[in-house]
Amino acid sequence: MIARAWILAGVVAGLLMLAVPASARDWPVSETRLDNGLHVIVREDHRAPVVVSQVWYAVGSSYESRPHTGISHVLEHMMFKGTKNLKPGEFSEIVARNGGEENAFTSRDYTAYYEQLAADRLETAFRLEADRMHQLRLDPDAFRKERDVVLEERRLRIVDQPVAAFGERFNAVSYPVSAYRQPVIGWSEDLHGLEIGDLRDWYRRWYSPANATLVVVGDVEPKVVFELARKYFGPVPGGEDPQPPVDRHMSAPGERRLSASDDRVRVPHLSMAYEVPSAATADDMADVYALEVLAGVLDGGDGARLAQRLVRDQSVAAGVGAGYSPAARLDTRFSIEATPTSGTSPEALEAAVREQIAALRREPVDGETLERAQNQILADHLYGLDSMFYQAMRIGRLEATGIGWEWLKGFEAGIRGVTAADVQRVARTYLTDDRLAVGVLRPGGGNGDTDEEAE
């Protein structure tokens, strides 16, 4: 039985369309909007008696400008430092006592706060989140201490990590004008200059129900969730719906290079990034799906082109990855990150990557390659449903970037509809030299790959 299925699969694999089960296609969610503008989205998942609650504010580093970069992230830290009703740290303690886990994250387009709890404790999360949506107490002493904590976070994540420090600079080169050029954690000089009044303004401006989305996924009934939301978030004053800053756009700005060496570096690193549309900025959504499939052709797993050709056939890359995430408010990047094998120069690796991109522009991918990429993307889409947290993330990210969760409803058809000609077309349109930034990080001062560990 098993053996026969195996032979069958081996013979006709190239002809079979992978069937994605209906549960992944339908994506049932319920939603409502409170009078004060808060958007509430509920997705039922009754596998375990737990729930995840996330509050998404449409504000992040792409809303910032100098000298206030990093302010969204600092405010995220301050959201745990007490309100008119809660002492500093009490928020976390209440969630912990209720058997929950909580934290927050800040990105380019959003700041999000979450709690994971037993489903019958959802009310606790709502009570706490509604409170800090409008009652935050921004204390100057707590702020000074927390800014020190953020500076330590910056040292840990970026300053002392040569690849991350390089990535921060490369990011600014790859986005010559867009607000995405700013690091989420902020430039160090700006962090030092932040004042409590800046945070108060930022909080007043962006933390309103009309600028937020509440996403709940778990073992809950939507009707009950809506009632609870009205009870706790309903009394939060509405405020105006703030408009996100308009991007100063510059399309195809010309090829740029960043070359850096660092004494701490032991292994060279290559970054390449093409400026491409996101699901929010694309004129034609077909381009977005085609770019997703193109990413799958290059890096959908070990069978994909980059692993096959650069790692195994040519042995020029010790590691290589390509990625495209369409959930962004502004034009975004199609990125390739690679590490050369010992004895391969970053330039040789760059040339090999460019050749793979050129091949995509030159000729359409074959049917088997296309279908494998599509199958893998759709299977991963289904596997994503295994995590309640990730389901909530998908919804929240699409809402906060202005794309809307409904985008998921068309996802399967969109991916399935991509043809080899589409992949070639987007390669020709977007993976062009005048949209490309190349960054090379090298070991400085004799720390090259001849430097062996002595034993």
């Binding site: 098993i2 992978l18 089960p21 737990v50 058997g99 300053v159 991963d380 295994d386």
Partner: protein
């Protein structure tokens, strides 16, 4: 029915925990002695499988990196198929396969659609990979090279440098001292023959555990487990490891590194292995000290009160042959002395007095209440099932663990902490600028550190 009984138990025994039923776990052995642990979950049409072998770096012998290299090579060629063919066939089915290894085990993970044709094809291919890896010579050279590049890359990360130095100082010449990703010299010296011999000895049915979670019934789970292991030699389980020894003396390892923060690790070995009845108490105690996120003692003292550090935490690990306890932070260089005093005082106080009663109650309700959160996905569950099989834990472990936590009183927790931790024998690792950390101890001979010139 099952669920209602469990629920009643929970309400009686775990009054503070939410009502919760652990998944129904089934367990059996194949004819060749492989342990199988299975839980059916029907909400999503997917299946997760993990095949584990007692073939982690504790079995490296004199060749650090041998276990990892063997695991890494499994998908690089088998039964006449090359790496690209294996990967493409799996991807065509929408399957995801990966390999990994740690100190106690090496594993292959499969995630597949539950649909019969897809799952059968993926299972069949995985069985061929497990039973007949070819370890092709060119793949061997390439993957060994990749591991060396990764190790060199690790030397530019102060956190990695600190963790490696810590485990080395802690574990001395115990088999656990061999790092899961090897050493540069060790990996360089490995031969293909050694990999083949390692596979022959340890990738055998008698040394394997199969964990399965997903949208299939028990009959199918039996078929899959049998198919995955029927190409393996029967073989024997790996012999027990010697117990992790207590530290003989305190020691400070200072590694100069051009960083703006100093990385600090302080800790010691413990006799608490997987299955030790003191584990829940130690786990609970650690949650109070530094395992409970922002509400733990260390986070409060280091971050909330003093703004010294972004991350300060502690952890306890229980492995097959013993365990270890560690406290870690990263602190700006001009505040290192303050940070070391806070950390050392906190550990000493914790060891001598045990956790504070209020904090203990908070930790207890957090652990018992949040336990179901650890099991809300198939991926989490297959990890736990693999652990239960690998370490021979009781089948009701997932139900019992939160109950045990809930039963623990302050005195018992304090007693275990004072038994398990020494009065002050500890390893301290400092990675930071020479002028900050001092330099009274020569750099370790294997030179797995460095950084700035």
């Amino acid at each position: 029915m099952m669920r209602r009984i469990m629920l009643a138990l929970c309400l009686i025994v775990v009054a503070s925990a939410p009502a919760w039923a652990a998944p129904d776990i089934q367990r059996w052995r194949t004819d060749d002695g492989t342990q199988v642990v299975f839980a059916a979950t029907h909400e999503l049409p997917i299946v997760d499988v993990r095949v584990l072998f007692d073939a982690g770096s504790a079995r490296d012998g004199d060749h650090p990196g041998l276990a990892r290299l063997t695991a890494n090579l499994l998908l690089e060629g088998a039964d006449g198929l090359n790496a690209g063919a294996i990967a493409r066939r799996l991807e065509q089915q929408g399957a995801r396969v990966s390999t990994g290894s740690a100190r106690d085990s090496a594993w292959v993970s499969l995630r597949s659609l539950a649909r019969e044709a897809n799952l059968d094809a993926a299972t069949e291919l995985l069985a061929r990979v497990l039973a007949g890896p070819d370890f092709p010579a060119n793949a061997f050279e390439r993957v060994r090279g990749q591991m060396q590049v990764a190790l060199r890359h690790g030397r530019q990360d102060p956190g990695t440098v600190a963790r490696r130095a810590f485990m080395k100082a802690l574990l001395g010449d115990h088999p656990y001292a061999s790092p899961p990703n090897g050493t540069e010299a060790g990996v360089k010296g490995i031969t293909r023959k050694q990999v083949e011999a390692f596979h022959r000895r340890y990738y055998v049915a008698g040394n394997a555990t199969v964990a399965i979670v997903g949208d299939i019934d028990t009959r199918r789970a039996h078929e899959i487990a049998a198919r995955l292991t029927d190409g393996l030699a029967a073989g024997e389980a790996a012999p027990a490891l010697p117990p992790v020894p207590p530290l003989k003396a305190s020691r400070t390892v200072r590694i100069p590194f051009d960083t703006s923060q100093t990385h600090v690790l302080i800790g010691e070995t413990t006799p608490v292995a997987r299955g030790d009845e003191r584990w829940p108490a130690l786990y609970l105690a650690n949650h109070v000290l530094g395992g409970g996120g922002l509400v733990s003692v260390l986070a409060e003292r280091m971050r909330e009160q003093r703004g010294l550090s972004y991350s300060s935490s502690s952890s306890v690990t229980a492995a097959a042959a013993g365990g270890w306890f560690q406290v870690g932070t990263q602190v700006r260089n001009d505040r290192l002395d303050d940070a070391l005093k806070v950390l050392r005082d906190s550990i000493d106080e914790f060891r001598s007095k045990g956790p504070d009663a209020d904090r203990l109650a908070l930790a207890r309700s957090n652990i018992t209440g949040s336990f179901p959160l650890n099991l809300d996905s198939n991926r989490d569950l297959v990890g736990y099932l693999g652990m239960i099989g690998l370490y021979g834990l009781p089948t009701d472990y997932l139900t019992r663990f939160p109950q045990r936590i809930d039963e623990l009183g302050r005195e018992r927790v304090a007693e275990v902490v004072s038994q398990v931790l020494s009065p002050g024998r500890r390893v301290t690792v400092l990675v930071g600028p020479a002028g900050v950390i001092g330099a009274d101890e020569a750099a370790d001979a294997d030179g797995e550190h460095g950084g700035g010139a």
